[in-house]
């Protein structure tokens, strides 16, 4: 393992990531299920009906009230969680020459978020899987719950080199609605297609989270007579200097606000994570839905 996630995982120990709504029929797990059953946490009494299992009768209540009631509890189900990571060329920003000491680049943050959230989900016995579109094509790690899955995720993501202009939307289309999908991206690629795919998933019952990774250097680019070039669209070259900085910031802020609005409009959660933020804290924000 080339990246040390130990401190982050230690900080996330005990963090739970409950589903924001009741999940559909699934294997028993940690999440509240839409189905009502007789196992799990007590929720209410119901009059005994013909055919109920007599073992569910609350005998004490029967003794007190001379009436037969059955104890009902909520079912818990697991939620397979897919982490869909954007490994396009823009995620490699900033490169090693322009990296601020102590601040990782966007891809490192995306990996950390995926590993952190994956560890949290795996701790609740949820299967976790990874889909990643990068320079070398698509990497896929099917959801699994076995011991060591988090290490598998780490290993899979360590082998990915960001580059190219691969689209994320095709990765979302085949996903099942009974899943939780976490899209980790800088939202500078095929955002419209991704949002359309996410909207379809959420409409079908899936839970979606969008994690918008923003580099600190994108919020405050270096001032000087330099030519900024988009790594995914080389034809886009702009002179960014003191005069252009204010306009740039306004435009980028507007883009981020609009992106947040669109994500939430699809029924998905949205969290913006800056590269200079604390990863455990960011992950807590994601799981807590506080962004």
């Amino acid at each position: 393992m080339t990246v040390a996630y130990g401190p982050m995982l230690d900080a996330l120990r005990g963090v739970r990531w409950p589903a924001r709504r009741a999940v559909g029929a699934a294997l028993p797990g940690a999440h509240r299920s839409r189905q009502r059953g007789t196992a799990g946490e007590f929720t209410e009494y119901r009059l005994y009906r013909q055919g109920d299992d007599p073992k569910q009768l609350d005998w004490k209540l029967l003794a007190r009230s001379d009436r037969a009631f059955v104890r009902l509890t909520d079912d818990r189900a697991l939620v397979p969680t897919w982490f869909v990571l954007d490994a396009s060329a823009s995620m490699a920003f900033p490169d090693a020459r322009h990296l601020t000491p102590g601040v990782p680049n966007k891809w490192s943050v995306a990996r950390a978020i995926a590993v952190g959230l994956g560890a949290v989900a795996h701790a609740s016995a949820d299967p976790i899987g990874v889909l990643c579109a990068g320079a070398d094509g698509t990497r896929r790690l099917a959801p699994r719950t076995r011991r060591g899955t988090v290490n598998d995720v780490m290993r899979t993501l360590d082998e990915v080199t960001p580059g190219g202009t691969a689209s994320l939307a095709p990765l979302l289309a085949p996903l099942s609605p009974n899943t939780r999908v976490v899209v980790v991206s800088d939202m500078l690629g095929d955002l419209d297609d991704v949002l359309r795919a996410v909207a379809q998933l959420t409409a079908a019952g899936a839970m979606a989270e969008g994690v918008h990774v923003v580099a600190a250097e994108e919020l405050a680019p270096t001032i000087g007579a330099r030519l900024a070039q988009d790594p995914e669209v080389p034809q886009v070259e702009r002179v960014i200097d003191r005069n252009a900085l204010q306009g740039y910031r306004a435009a980028f802020d507007a883009f981020r606000a609009e992106t947040a609005r669109r994500w939430r409009a699809t029924g998905a959660g949205y969290t913006e994570v800056q590269t200079d933020a604390s990863m455990p804290r960011a992950i807590r924000q994601i799981v807590g839905g506080q962004a």
Binding site: A89, S90, F93, P94, D95, H98, D186, L188, A215, E217, E218, P221, T222, G224, A225, R226, L227, A228, Q229, D230, P231, E232, V233, V236, E237, R238, V239, I240, A244, G247, Y248, A251, F252, F255
Partner: protein, 424 residues
Amino acid sequence: MISFLAPWVLGVAALAAAAVTLLHFLSVRRPPTYVLPTARFVTARDARAVSRSARPSDLLLLLLRVLAVLAAGVALAGPRWSSSRESVAHIVVADPSWHGDSASMMGRVLGDANQSGVVRVAWLDSTGGMRDELGAAIPAAWHEAGVLLRDVPSLDSVALHVFAPRGGSDSYRGWSAWRSGWPGRVAVHVPGDSAAATPRTASTSAVLVRERRDDDVVRAAIALQTGRASVGDGADSSVVLSGDAGTGRVRIEWPASGAPTGWTARSDTAGALVAGNQALVQPWIRRAAAPEMAGLTRVIARWGDGLPAAVETTNADGCLRTVAVAVPNGSDVLNTSAGQAFVRMLLAPCGEAAGARAALPQALLADSGGARALATTTALRRAFPPSTGVVPAWLPSVLLGVAIALLLLELALRSGTPAEPERA
């Protein structure tokens, strides 16, 4: 050697060339690129920036531009090319009485060292020249100075030599006023015996009187002055005096009646005859009018109304004095002191007629003591209007043509050179 009418234009051209060179140290180039995924949010505009570089760019273009600017500057500065390397020129203003002494005159100008140099000589007329007023030399000197400044632009300074008339001038009153305008030293040269209180009579070997009666008063007056009996041959009405070779032969044509050769007949009267500082006052009958004075002819006696009565013409032998004064026979006017002085004047060696003149004042000679520097061409040029004479006249056109050709070549080079990826 080249000089310029407007040297300041060269300075402007040099500044412009320096500015062009400095601009070539600034290069307009594309700024360095760096990756920014959010570049799309920057407003698009011209992606070029000005930066300084340690070495000038486009050396060939720089050379063409500098040469074009300098060529145009030289053309507009009014170049004057002179193959002459003379820095000092001599202006000689001389009286015609120095004609026979040109060698010694040039010797005085150029000195014992036998130096060479540009020398312009202006011979003033006997009439209206330095003989009447010595100061007439200065305007002539200014005229010659203008010619020198035009023809020899490489000159630094001008030396003025004034050769005063033999026998002095009638007036020196105008000298100071004219002299003050000349911005340098004036060397006034005098003949060895130019100052004469009384005119000398020509040394004669014979006096020939033609067609004059023995009792002619003119013959008598001449005999009285020369101490020699005159000899008559009846050939013409003239008095011939053979003078020494050193002073030149003096010939006097003094017809007893009628008009002298070349004069026109007239008949009127005059109240006085003036020669030098002598005046013969009596009712004179004028029988001739003088012709146009030209060349080496000068008036040596005038009637009271200013018309010439006697003139002296310098010739190869010496001089011819023509006298149109009809002395009545039996008159004793020539025996008076004024009349004797008149006759002595006519008998004086060539150039010394018109009686006794004032000697050249020593103050004038003192001016040639060298206390003042030679007149500089800079000071002389201030007296003349700005010269538009470019020498040679075709030079500015050629230089401007060269400048235009260089600029066209620069344009062609610039248009033909493909844009470098890093430089505009």
